[in-house]
Amino acid sequence: MNSEVRTFGIAVILFLAAATLPLISSGYLLSIGVSIAVYTVLATSWTLFSGPTNYISLAVAAFFGIGMYVVAGGIDLLPFPVLVLIGAVVGALFSAIVGLATLRISGVYFVIFTLGLAELIRQVVSWGQATMGTSSGLYVLTDFTDPQIYWALLVLAAVVFLIGWWIGRSRLGFALRIIGNDEVVAVHSGINTARAKVILFVISCTFASITGALVAPRYSYVEPTIAFNPFISFQVVIMALLGGVHRLWGPLLGVIPFTILWELISANFPTQTTLLLGAAFLLIVYFIPHGIVGLIESGIQKWKGDQHG
């Protein structure tokens, strides 16, 4: 209990420290801060589902884009907070449909289905806009400033962490870890595996939709290729894996270095980003399969072993 209070205290201090960023800096540093906040929410909520279950979801961009599109489409009609809520509900409903259709069967089919999901929605939205005769681009003109968006994202990140902490202690989290270890065992212990997976998938995707909705004002111009950019999914997966998916705070350790590194890479080698992203995938899979968390933990283990030995 004592160590839990201490961890919680450290988390609050770090959260408050992160919240002061807009007071210190406004330009470039803040924009990196917003990116880090976006990817922290996306990668941590991705890990809530994909970490314990080992079901790799490549659909983050689809749900991120849904949230963004709801805001972009309705900004002239409804107030922003209502739109964020609608975005969350639409994302939740859609992910429930996808989850119910694919998560009852083996994991591979789920991965394949999510792989093209963003592209599928992009095609359907483009087609819908073309048939209805509206232009493909939408303007999101609000008076929200970057600091406001940043703080909103920070609060969202805190909510994700709290929910993740709660799930980790609940029966649901326990069930998911068993599913990840051996799904047959989970079924035989009386766990309703499909239900547990769908619930977590919906939670995870809803956060992606809220994130998309919150950052929509930053883009000011939204069209299908921007909102449903599959690269977002791939970056989220790679950041989470880099950090480590077996601890709640793992993805954060991947998000921060990767976002900064990626800023530098896309500024200096704009034409080679795909190649480098592929190389990063391979490096992580072959050399740091348990992420930075895994490196730290095995380091501590070794150090403790030396102390006793």
Binding site: I56, A101, Y109, I112, G116, L241, G278
Partner: protein, 288 residues
Amino acid sequence: MEIIIIGLLLGGTYALMAMGLQLQYGVARIMNLANGEVLVAAAFGTFWFFSATQVSPFVALIGIVPLAFVVNWAIYRFLMLPLVKRAKNQGQLEVDSILATFGISFIFIGILLAVFGGDYLSYSYMASPVHLLGETYGLNRIAAFLGSAVLCVGLYVWLNRTRAGLTLRAVAVNPSAASLVSINVVNASALAFALGGAVTAAGGMMLSMFLTFDASLGVIFTLKALVIVIMGGVSDIRGAILAAFILGLTETVVAILVDPGLTLAAAYVLFLIILLVRPQGLFGRRTS
């Protein structure tokens, strides 16, 4: 009628592409998400060969197929095999191989972008009209269909009539039982993976005769091939061929009657129907 024939012609070419993926997933048990990129690379290679020499694209097969075989063999031997050995169970291997082949697909795209740039590429070969049952069709589509059909039949006969084919089918059914009857499972899997890559590359060459390609298109073909393989049942080539025709027809119907931009949506609808109604595939047997 026109729709049916165009759909069947397309389906025949899809069948070839899906057989490649089926060899890789069914025998070598690697879900290869870089499959579509091999196909696009072959299409780009054909484009380059034809633009440079003006010789028939079919001649390009002589270079493309062995090259794809060697490259895919190397991918299996040096990148997949360590994962196979490291994995404690099938689930772990699936996750690792999906992530690794995903990385490989990005590297392919990056190389293609660096060499050919991001433009759409196509060439014009045998683009003359052919009259068939009162309608006209591009000769290149018919040639691609015939070429694919020859290769499909050849592969089918090879798998069912030769000892090497029997070996691959044995590994597909049960790798550990296959090793009991002194089959070298590692070699057989590497052969299947390499052969699958070569077949996919041949499919890419066929498709390049009548489709327009750009470097980022691979994932679409990976998805289509996966939908076909799942629809047909993972271990049955007849199922894949039938499924390829179904997909080809559905896509053509949607493209002509609704909108050409919705072909992926058509594939997804088929995918959903299969997942909900018959997850083991058309010819697959229900497993535990």
